[in-house]
Amino acid sequence: MNALLATVRRDILLALRRKSEVLTAVFFFVIVTSLFPLGIGPEPALLKKIAPGILWVAALLATLLGLPRLFAADHVDGTLEQMALSPSPLGLLVAGKILAHWLLCGLPLVLLAPVLGLQFDLDASALGILTLALLLGTPLLSLIGAIGAALTLGVRGGGVLLALLVLPLYIPALIFGAGAVEAHIAGLDIGGHLSLLAAMLVLAAFFAPWATTAALRVALE
């Protein structure tokens, strides 16, 4: 467990020395969501209807942006090799790296979402649901994305390939995450959406680090 926390601390420390990489994803999220009203028009009813989908798709793409770097830097300078040979289980270190990725690329989106939601005329309760859904959904995106990042590590055209591999797997998170907010706006019960999202998160938290570790070992061979 200590090794996991050490990995989180290390990755956050590294990210703070290179702030631009974290900020890129956040700026991307802000800019993309702000572009939609400009492309569609300022009609509040329409914006309100498409807000959950837009915020979720933007969050999806923003997390995707940071994924290629998740293991690439450690792979290039050889520290990933050291991790694979460490007495600490690699799965634990990988879990730490995924957690750090979420703290750096996912959590800022969750915190920004209510502010950006205001642009789309969402009311306070809808903003709350949006934040909650993103809070459950963004770790899921980091977990699934890590598998793709490990599979495409050091591969030709890795970035585009990563998107091709990972985006289809993001669909359930998108459906339930955006669906929760939509259902709330429509006055429906949202318990089902959120509990399914939570169930998927638990499932991914269990399997994704394992699959990621297997993929990393293949990549290091």
Partner: protein, 246 residues
């Protein structure tokens, strides 16, 4: 018992599998032809016109088998992939690689025929129907698998990475299917559906079944042909390949 284990391992090696596949291929082609011809005969000449959809429903005889096969092939592919990861048998990875293009073709066919059915029935080439949407995602999964394998130069690494991806995909497919269905019902999807379109006469079921068998045999025959090519490509420096060629 011991004998039979050795026997199986013989076919699990590329060297044993290459000639075996070569001998099996004509039989699968023959079976595909027989099932295909009888299936087509039923679908055009025996099955009655549907009261609701007229003759347009006959697309079902290729749409449904193609959809079935696209899903089934993914399962088979994941099975070979898992076997390859667990037992480290070389043929498994080659089989998975040989199956992917055929699976993608089936998914593409399913989408194409779905669109050609949708235009007269729904009045649009594409409707976000739950099944079609899932099929589209499955098509993407196939493309991802093939792209990943193509991007990795070392065949052993490509096999392993592809295997992990196929297994992740197989865990996700039910989740994706379920979530798309949920999404579709929430947004009040179309009421008529291609797959349970007509009141399913007995003959229609038979036609569909025969066509599905034909597609199945076809898929095996093509995959075996492709796996033979892959075996030769990967084993070209071994001694047995030199003797196996005529």
């Amino acid at each position: 018992m011991r004998q039979s284990i050795i026997h199986w391992f013989k076919f699990a090696s590329p060297q044993g599998f290459y000639p075996l596949a070569g001998r099996m291929i004509p039989w699968f082609w023959a079976a595909a032809a027989i099932f295909g011809i009888s299936g087509l005969w039923i679908s055009f000449f025996v099955a009655p016109t549907d009261a609701q959809q007229g003759e347009g429903y006959r697309i079902i005889f290729i749409h449904v088998p193609a959809s079935w096969m696209s899903m089934f092939i993914y399962l088979v592919m994941a099975f070979w992939a898992a076997l390859g990861l667990a037992l480290n048998t070389r043929v498994s990875g080659m089989m998975a690689q040989a199956l992917a293009p055929t699976g993608a073709l089936m998914a593409a066919l399913s989408l194409w025929t779905g669109a050609f059915w949708g235009k007269p029935m729904w009045g649009a080439w594409w409707v976000w129907d739950a099944r079609l949407t899932s099929e589209l995602i499955l098509f993407f999964l196939y493309l991802g698998f093939m792209a990943l394998q193509a991007a990795i130069d070392d065949p052993r690494r490509a096999d392993k990475a592809g295997a992990i991806l196929a297994l992740v995909g197989v865990v996700n497919i039910p989740i994706i299917y379920f979530s798309v269905k949920w999404w579709n019902t929430l947004h009040q999807g179309s009421t008529i559906n291609l797959n349970k379109a007509p009141s399913m006469a007995q003959t229609m079921l038979w036609g569909m079944l025969l066509m599905a068998l034909a597609f199945w045999m076809y898929s095996i025959a093509v995959a075996l042909t492709r796996v033979r090519a892959i075996i030769l490509e990967r084993e070209r420096h071994t001694e047995w390949v030199k003797h196996a060629l005529e």
